[in-house]
């Protein structure tokens, strides 16, 4: 396998982008990454997008978007794994280069969620669950994660205050991210007073509905060395992909995100790394409880200790292991297909030392964890500065 | 060989609304309504309950008491209601599918205002008697509506009763000794297609409709079979409110003791096609072997079906194998206010 590097990073603002269509936001992110990378030739475009069909009535993005970029003729592929579609687009690009099929890949993720109303967006997101045996009963995504939260609270004593602490931290980080959807200072009190969405999760425990796109350019480390200039070369040293049962009723242990654990194990093995080696992490905080459970599944904290760790500030910028310096899905926004790519954009930016006020000093090794549905799939990538 | 009930069951939803709650909204004088109608409260179906769901649960209770009748042995199933969930598509097929009685089965939905339940029973037991089927099920169930602010709003309630009929002497818990129906065209109460709520002839619904019809039916069955009121341990009449069944019972010569077990309307309301059938289940819950029971229904339009039954020994062995009726009525109620009631009954205009 060849070594793969990230040489270009780009994203749009995340938010309610009423004036821009899916193809426009996608193209803007792609062009930003291409400008950052200064590569000459793209062999493949990968696109992570959960459901352009349900959100904007459009499929066949491979053709549409390659064309949009003036690159009709280039190989292109849209991949899907619900909210892990972006991570899967990265995995696909990584594998193409590692295997020698492609030299340079434009990895992208996009979702345009605001062209449908709330009920239709909820329905589209709901297709990430088991439509027949979960969705049929009227459950929503907040509802599924609320059930996981309740099981975690029952077993480990996790509290709603600890959930709120995760939201407060992520909003504090989001204030430092110019692309974030929300720039608001959240307090524990106002988080706990926000509208109940699905007991015990409130509005401030839930990531928003967002339009946005993000992109990366990958190439071989060998080529990257010629392009890098004085910037550190960011290598993808580990990639892990895993699934778990789609429906919660079939989960072995409702307090564990097994897909995350398996994906992480595979990524750590490939990279030759352990949780202690990580300097900065982006996790899939579609809901506050998801961040807590993901940090446990990644081995950053023991099972049941993730909530206390967040409350104690261990995951803040400057803490023992900063999590979601970008603001996470909670304040940055969650344009579903783009999230996995945006997470890696943040890690690459951190490893390049270009994260400004969000910078984790001396970050050399980072991890991004992307997840689909209620933990039915997960993709983990480990990046490090190549020496 | 005699035809009888081999299994019976009732289902009453848990929610209730008190008369005062309804009266408050319309500025009506609750105490006088309560006295006049002899009603205190009524059952309210949840948004997830309808004629079909209640029929399924009532039927399941009936099977629990049937000594192991296999649903595939049922040759006919009828559901009588004036609130079938579909205008076109039978309730009976859904019920039969849910209890596992399809596909070797005859199914039809019945309709005749409040007597659709006893009609189902009438036809079901007749098929068994004719030797056409081994077992047949007759169900009466309703979630009827009363127009907001109308007198019927105080009484229109929800409930179901199901009876499995067979000719197994070993399984019969009550034999059907006689049946009789008295029917004329009497336009006391009606609902035109596409209208939400029924209309009625006010005081015309009393003497010329309810009383004339039920008395003729009850007198008719007694005369034809050489029976007098004193021969019966229990009598159940259709109960559109608390007052009418008591008055007709007394006029015919029945006592309070004979009438009170099957008299549920003051706390249940009028469950329309379920009314006298549910009353019958309450009687079967406590009747003694050898008791003679009269049940006389009434359906506007108008008609009345009467049955004379004799309770057997077996009733004592099986009555506790499923939820009894009176506890369903008297225990674990969930009281709702008028706003919740209106929401549950679809009286609030929702967004399209």
């Amino acid at each position: 396998m060849r070594d793969v590097a990230v040489v270009g990073v780009g994203m749009t603002d995340f938010g309610e982008l009423w004036g821009k269509s899916l193809r426009t936001i996608w193209a803007e992110a792609a062009l930003a990454a291409l400008a950052d990378a200064e590569v000459q030739k793209i062999d493949l475009i990968t696109i992570g997008c959960m459901s352009p069909g349900l959100f904007v009535g459009q499929e066949h993005l491979a053709s549409l978007l390659a064309d949009e970029l003036g690159m009709a003729g280039t190989a292109a592929s849209r991949v899907e794994s619900a909210c892990a579609s972006g991570g899967l687009a990265l995995r696909t690009g990584f594998a193409e280069i590692a295997s020698g099929l492609s030299d340079t890949v434009l990895v992208t993720g996009v979702e345009k969620m605001n062209d449908v109303d709330g009920a239709d967006a909820t329905y589209a997101l709901g297709t990430a669950a088991d439509q027949e045996w979960e969705g049929f009963h009227g459950i929503t995504f907040p509802g599924l994660y609320a059930m996981l939260a309740r099981a975690h609270m029952q077993r480990f004593g996790t509290t709603v205050e600890q959930l709120a602490a995760v939201a407060v931290k992520n909003h504090a980080n989001g204030l430092l991210n110019p692309h974030a959807q929300y720039h608001l200072k959240l307090t524990i009190e106002s988080a706990l007073a926000s509208t109940m969405v699905a007991d015990p999760l409130r509005l401030m425990d839930c990531s928003p509905v967002t339009d946005g796109a993000a992109a990366l350019v990958l190439t071989t480390v060998e080529k990257a060395e010629k392009l890098a200039g004085h910037r550190p070369i960011v290598k993808i040293s580990g990639s892990g992909l895993a699934t778990d049962t789609i429906s919660l009723a079939n989960r072995e242990d409702l307090t564990e995100l097994k897909a995350v654990r398996l994906a992480a194990d595979r990524a750590y093995a490939m990279a030759g790394k352990k949780p202690e080696d990580l300097d900065v992490v982006e996790v899939h905080d579609c809901f506050t409880i998801a961040e807590i459970m993901a940090t446990e599944a990644l081995g950053l904290f023991e099972p049941g200790k993730g909530a206390q760790a967040a409350e104690d500030g261990l995951t803040a910028i400057g803490g023992k292991i900063p999590v979601n310096t970008s603001g996470g899905l909670k304040s940055k926004g969650h344009p579903v297909g783009a999230t996995g790519v945006a997470q890696v954009a943040e890690i690459a930016t951190q490893l390049r030392g270009e994260a400004g006020d969000r910078q984790v000093a001396g970050a050399k090794t980072g991890l991004a964890q992307n997840m689909g549905g209620s933990g039915g799939s997960s993709i983990v990538h480990i990046l490090e500065v190549a020496s | 060989m005699s035809v009888g009930i081999v299994g019976y069951g009732a289902f009453i939803p848990r929610r209730r609304i008190k008369l005062e709650e309804i009266a408050k909204v319309w500025g009506a004088d609750a105490p006088s309504y309560k006295r006049g109608l002899q009603l205190h409260e009524k059952s309210v179906p949840g948004a997830d309950e309808d004629t079909v769901t209640m029929s399924v649960e009532a039927a399941r209770n009936a099977f629990a008491r049937s000594g192991g009748v296999d649903p595939v042995e049922v040759g006919a199933l009828y559901v009588g209601s004036e609130s079938h969930p579909y205008a076109v598509k039978p309730s009976g097929t859904i019920v039969a599918e849910a209890i596992g009685a399809t596909p070797d089965i005859h199914i039809a939905d019945f309709e005749f205002a409040c007597k659709a339940g006893t009609e189902s029973m009438f036809v079901a037991q007749a098929l068994v008697r004719a030797g056409e089927v081994k077992y047949a099920i007759g169900i009466g169930a309703d979630t009827s509506q009363g127009a907001p602010g109308d007198a019927l709003e105080y009484s229109a309630a929800a409930g179901a009763a199901a009876f499995i009929f067979g000719d197994d002497d070993d399984r019969n818990l009550a034999e059907i000794l006689a049946t009789y129906s008295w029917t004329t065209d009497t336009p006391d109460f009606w609902r035109r297609e596409y209208m939400h709520y029924p209309r009625h002839g006010s005081r015309f619904t009393g003497e010329p409709a309810y009383f004339r019809t039920t008395m003729s039916s009850a007198k008719g069955i007694m005369e034809k079979n050489g029976l007098k009121p004193g021969d019966f341990a229990h009598a159940i009449f259709h109960q559109p409110n608390g007052k009418f069944p008591m008055r007709v019972g007394k006029k015919l010569g029945f006592t309070n003791e004979q009438l009170e077990t099957g008299w549920l309307s003051p706390w249940l309301g009028n469950t329309y096609s379920g009314a006298s059938p549910i009353g019958l289940t309450a009687v079967l819950d406590i009747a003694k072997p050898g008791d003679l029971v009269l049940i006389t229904s009434f359906g506007s339009g108008a008609g009345s079906d009467s049955f004379v039954l004799r309770v057997t020994d077996r009733v004592e062995e099986v009555r506790d194998l499923a939820a009894r009726t009176r506890p369903q009525l008297d225990e674990n109620q969930i009281y709702v206010d008028y706003g919740t009631y209106a929401k549950l009954r679809g009286k609030i205009r929702m967004a399209e």
Partner: protein, 134 residues
């Protein structure tokens, strides 16, 4: 968004709680599937799930999906009916959602789950209701 054909196909599971048991390792699947999720075998015998169980975890959905507005607030739970057999169901007949607890004994009752608007089909299934005599 459930077609007549799809709703009809699901009746054995929705209406009668029909499940399947692997003849090789004994794992029970509800709903049934093509291969055993535990041992991969493809031979099964049918069974009907019991209608009594307990709540494993739950939530109360306050922001409903389309089609469930009238049923809000909507309690939904994972209920375990026999060792290891779990299913997702709504919880019905609860006066106050605060009374729902993990471990609460429930009974499965036939109920209306949703409908395709005022003019479309009605979808029936089972809901869990509190088992008050347990």
């Amino acid at each position: 968004m459930i077609s007549p054909g799809r709703s009809w196909r699901e009746f054995p599971q929705r209406y009668r709680l029909e499940a399947e048991k692997c003849t090789v390792c004994g794992k029970i699947h509800y709903p049934p599937r093509v291969t055993c999720s535990k041992c991969g075998a493809r031979t099964f015998e049918s069974l009907v799930l019991p209608r009594e169980g307990k709540v494993v975890t739950f939530t109360v959905v306050r922001v409903p999906p389309a089609g469930f507005t009238e049923q809000t607030p909507l309690p939904v739970a994972i209920v375990e009916v026999m060792d290891g057999v779990r299913l997702m169901v709504q919880i019905g007949d609860v006066a106050d959602p605060d009374e729902i607890e993990i471990g609460m004994p429930v009974r499965l009752e036939f109920r209306r789950i949703s409908s395709d608007g005022e003019a479309g089909l009605i979808f029936y299934g089972h809901k869990a209701v509190p088992r008050l005599d347990a």
